[in-house]
């Protein structure tokens, strides 16, 4: 009977050719539906494999098989989440799909186990490689750069925080990849002027260059200024660069559109004026935390950028109302303004600004303490397209101000009200913004279930909800959120002490939940955790610090269901060595775990649990006392596999 059914279904599907299947597949957008599609039959699976262009691998075990299946058509490969990826695994996987590679982009960010052998194999196997992201692979040095340099077609390369990279490695890349268009060498502290000089001479096609936090001097800028196609230059925190260096950018020989000189402490207005003079089409200017006061000449020079400038970030300046007025008059096309931590930003100033810049979509007013509701009224009045509003620590703002925002800015997607004195009424006003995706209400301790019910009633698209220390929130509020905002991805419930297992059970219907923080929610038990583990199977980050009632049962459930869990904080939980061992042994994706003050776990428990993790961990937090108790071989093994252990020494404090 079953056999007959199989044959019949095969025959039906056989009538559909692969190209027809692919055309049908194009209508299946949701990843979960695609998963179902894959499970239909071999033909469907094959069609999906032919259609798939990008792949994000979550487990090392699956890598080889996946690549064998998808190698033919895959263009983008993301291995950044793949735990304990090393040269051997990468080379074996690449060999599995040998000769079929059309891969153009690979993301190896934070893949600390990959060395030059793996990269050499990659460059050899993928002749069309164009983009490589190796950022935060702290072990990457000159040899890895030399291996990458054999991929001559490379256009995008991100090497942020590759601490071993020196001028020699950069020179290898510069010589080997002359077509380079985007390069990030942020935090590669060994690179000096000599390397930048060679880079500028060899890679004339560079469009995007990030040289933030390098110890380079003005000499480097002299050579960077010769890059004719340069559009985006980031040099955050280059303290050796001053106005003299920026004057090299005055010649206008490059087509800069975006300049970021924030935190360059030696840069002043005069240097920025020369940058503005050289580039009439500058769109993006970030000068945060450079120098305290805006010179009038600089403000008037902004008039030169009247048509082009869209983003202006002035974090940390003293901005008086007249300055904001001039900005409002001169930069009419401004879309984004950053006034975070600016002193002397007043209602009057903000009103003058928005009167000129009616196109503003993003306004960052973090820590502008002087602002009141009047400013919000002005914003709501003028900026109809507003999508993002940051109001953290603007304590004079009340519910009334948000009334205007909620009414006028219907496109609002993100609002940060952390540490503002908001009540449930404000939530009622905000609930009019149906596009709202990010809502941060941390430290707003007057928000209660009623407010959440308002939000849940209309904000269906909410993805991020921060309720840090909102003590009034109870299980009912969570029930409302869980029913109203099905797409919540990040949920912060730290120190919402009135939440119990029931609330977590409500939350368990949030299938998209990735990041859940339950720090200090001391009423929850393993029951709630089991419900969450059951329902939210995509959970990748979980914080259970100071959840004293959570025991082994919770960990068993997590180990069984949340196979994608990458980060876990279990400090102060009442777990035993068995639960810990089970969790670390069964979660193949776990990479970052904090295990401070697990009073029930003896040294042997830690020993066996860490051995069970099989060297997948990249970050580990343990008590200093364990340093000499754990066997040196284990610590050595962990560190050899690229795990960074942070030893903390703090007293056992059961009250959060």
């Amino acid at each position: 009977m079953e056999r007959a059914q199989q044959q019949s279904s095969d025959s039906i599907l056989a009538t559909l050719s692969v190209d027809l299947l692919i055309q049908i597949l194009d209508f299946v957008a949701d990843p979960r539906d695609r998963k179902s599609w894959r499970q239909v039959c071999r033909g469907f699976l094959h069609a999906e494999a032919l259609r798939r262009r990008s792949l994000r691998v979550l487990r090392r075990e699956a890598l080889q098989g996946l690549l064998r299946r998808y190698a033919a058509c895959l263009e983008r490969l993301d291995l950044s989440a793949c735990p304990s990826l090393d040269d051997h695994a990468l080379a074996a996987a690449l060999a599995a799909g040998a000769g079929l590679w059309r891969l153009r982009s690979i993301n190896l960010s934070r893949a600390s186990g990959v060395g030059w052998r793996g990269l050499a194999a990659l460059a050899k196997a993928c002749p069309h490689l164009e983009a490589v992201d190796l950022s935060h692979c702290v072990g990457v040095g000159d040899r890895e750069a030399a291996a990458l340099a054999t991929a001559a077609g490379l256009r995008d390369l991100w090497l942020d925080k590759c601490l071993g990279l020196t001028d020699v490695g950069l020179a290898k890349v510069a010589v080997g990849c002359p077509a380079l268009e985007m390069l990030g060498i942020k935090w590669c502290l060994e690179i000096s002027d000599i390397g930048i000089e060679l880079l500028a001479k060899k890679c004339q096609n560079l469009r995007v260059l990030d040289i933030s936090y390098l110890k380079i001097t003005n000499r480097s800028l002299q050579f960077v200024s010769s890059l004719g196609k340069l559009e985006d230059l980031s040099m955050v925190g280059c303290s050796h660069i001053d106005d003299e260096g920026l004057q090299f950018l005055n010649n206008g020989s490059n087509s800069l559109q975006s300049v970021d000189v924030s935190r360059c402490e030696n840069v002043t207005s005069s240097g920025l004026i020369s940058v503005i003079e050289g580039h009439k089409y500058l769109q993006n200017l970030n000068i945060g935390d450079c120098f305290p006061e805006l010179a009038p000449l600089f403000l008037s020079k902004l008039n030169d950028l009247r048509d082009s400038l869209t983003v202006l970030k002035l974090d940390g300046f003293q901005v008086f109302a007249p300055s904001l007025k001039i900005i409002g008059l001169n930069c009419r096309n401004l879309v984004e303004i950053g006034l975070s931590k600016c002193k002397w930003v007043t209602d009057e100033g903000v009103s003058e600004l928005v009167a000129g810049c009616v196109n503003l979509m993003t306004i960052d007013l973090t820590c502008c303490h002087l602002l009141t509701n009047k400013a919000l009224v002005a914003i709501g009045d003028k900026c109809k397209n507003l999508t993002c509003l940051q109001l953290e620590s603007c304590k004079l703002i009340t519910d009334k101000g948000l009334d205007c925002i909620g009414t006028c800015c219907s496109n609002l997607e993100e609002i940060d009200l952390t540490d503002c004195t908001m009540t449930n009424a404000a939530m009622k006003y905000l609930s009019r913004c149906s596009e709202l995706m990010v809502l941060k209400l941390g430290l707003c301790d007057k928000i209660s279930d009623e407010g959440l019910v308002h939000i849940a009633s209309n904000c269906k698209k909410l993805r991020v909800l921060d309720l840090y220390r909102c003590f009034e929130v109870t299980d009912d509020g969570l029930a409302a959120i869980a029913t109203g905002c099905k797409r919540i991805k990040n949920l912060n419930l730290c120190y919402c002490t009135r939440i119990t297992d029931l609330g977590l059970k409500h939350l368990s219907c949030l299938e998209d939940l990735h990041d859940l923080e339950l720090r200090g929610v001391h009423c929850i038990t393993s029951l709630g955790i089991t419900a969450i583990a059951n329902g939210c199977q995509h959970l990748t980050e979980l914080d259970l610090k100071h959840c004293h009632l959570v025991d082994d049962a919770g960990l068993f459930a997590l180990g069984q269901y949340t196979k994608n869990l990458r980060q876990a904080n279990l400090s102060y939980c009442q777990v035993s060595s068995m639960g810990l061992c089970n969790l670390l042994g069964s979660l193949k994706c776990l990479q970052d775990v904090k295990l401070v003050h697990l009073t029930q776990v003896p040294v042997e428990g830690f020993e066996s649990a860490l051995r069970a993790s099989g060297g997948r961990l990249k970050k580990l937090k343990l008590l200093t006392g364990l340093r000499h108790l754990l066997s040196p071989g284990l610590i050595q093994m962990l560190q050899d596999r690229g795990c960074r252990i942070r030893w903390v020494d703090k007293p056992l404090n059961l009250v959060p």
Binding site: D142, R143, A146, A149, D167, V168, K172, I194, E197, K202
Partner: protein
Amino acid sequence: MVPERRRPPEASSKSSSSMMSESPRNRKPDLPFTPFDSTNLWCGDRHGRSFLEFSPPLVTQSNGLFGPDRETKSKNQHEPSPVDDPVMDWNPRLMLSNLSFLEQKIHQVQDIVRSIISHEDQFLDQANELAAQQQLVTADLTYIIIQLISTAGTLLPDIKNALLSTNPAVGRPGSNQKQHEILPVEVAKASQYDSLIKDLNSCGGKEDELIKCSNNSGVEASEPIPIEDHDTKDNDDGMDGENLPPGSYEVLQLEEEEILAPHTHFCLICGKGFKRDANLRMHMRGHGDEYKSPAALAKPSKEASIEPQPIRRYSCPFVGCKRNKEHKKFQPLKTILCVKNHYKRSHCDKSYTCSRCRTKKFSIIADLKTHEKHCGRDKWICSCGTTFSRKDKLFGHVALFQGHAPAIPMDDAKVLVTSDKAQVSEASSGMPGNMDYNFSGNTSLDAQSPDLKGVDDGHGCFSPMTLDACNIWGLAEFPHSAYEVSESTFSFLATVPFKGMEKIKFQAAGMMNCSEQHYPVIIYIRSNKGVQVETSIMTDAHARTVSFEVPVYSWHLNPTSAEISICRTQHERGKYYKCRIT
């Protein structure tokens, strides 16, 4: 002391004769010279004063008499400026006053010497006092000589030249004489006098203090003169691009033996040679007290600063060399040191090999040391194989040429490491011969003589490990790696049973290149019973086999194993090599 004593009479007679002829004695009674009291001479205090007080009056006198500041100044400081323009500067009155002053000075010295003679027996008791007196006389005399010369020099510069250049020949050929002539010139600086007087007045007139003070002032004064030291290294072979027209200088050509001679300064008493004259001076102290005087120990300064000498250039004795005077584009060498360095660099064997790269060779050890400072460190290599000492130079090169990229230094380091390991394993497989006490097991010894018996040539030859031939006996000087290698391989078998005095033969190759022909070697043998035998033998650098005997009575405890250590001095001992006894 003889030369110093001999000089003054000459000088004084000369000066006095000239003075006599020109003018009657001009001794003013009001001159504040201390009347010499021979009875008080004994007292150091009086001496100090007499030594002191003659000088300041000179200043006042000349001021009062001749007015023009420039002249007095030039005289006070005893600058050689009159030499530059002698005719213009010559002032007969000044000359007269100078001469009369000198005359007085000579009389003073005469008195002192006389008093020394009269108190000779007392001085015998107190050698120190005598020495101090002598010193005073010496200082006075040298002052007089200088004064005389400069006075004469103002008159006739040519005479002065001749006088000075012949001076060293008159006295002893050593450097002491010269020194005494020069030193007081500096002492005579007006400011020096002032400080000297102050010092002397403050110190209670003790003689040793006096000596110290005069000594100090002399040393201080001589310091600022830029003295060309022949021993300082001159790397540029004198190639400073100076273009002297041919014939404007005197060409000297040293012989090869002269150039290669290890020593340039010789003791006239015992004949010992030294590289530096300072070392010679230190050595001279051992030949008597007269060489211990501060003047004798002071650095001889050249008169070049005072006297223009004919330009002298040097020629390389190697015919055909551009530095040889026969060459049609002859480029002379500037100093003797340049000659030495040039000759060694260009025409001698390069016997010093860099122990790091083992390719670079040098004939001058200083060059080797300079190279070793940089060798292997911060080598910047391009993919094309070109090496650079500086990173920016490499990057400039890479920027210039298409397709060139910096090589990663780690590659080379790894290669080196592996090759080292290979050598080590190779070395340990090369077991020594077993017939007799054959040192060929120590591979570092026989790199240059593959024909040793009992040695497998293939294993015995470790050219990278080869040490400087001079190190053969200084086992303690072995570099670390060689030590370890030899430790593992250095065990040798004695197949001959000990009976009476046994002759033990061992071979040592590579000794031929030692600079010294023979040198003693100490051999220590200690058995496991705690008995130690010491033998010293003379080696022959040309012999390949060296024998030595071990008195067998020392083995009466029937040792089963023994250790042997070979070294050149007792202090080098320390490394024992195991040997088995059968």
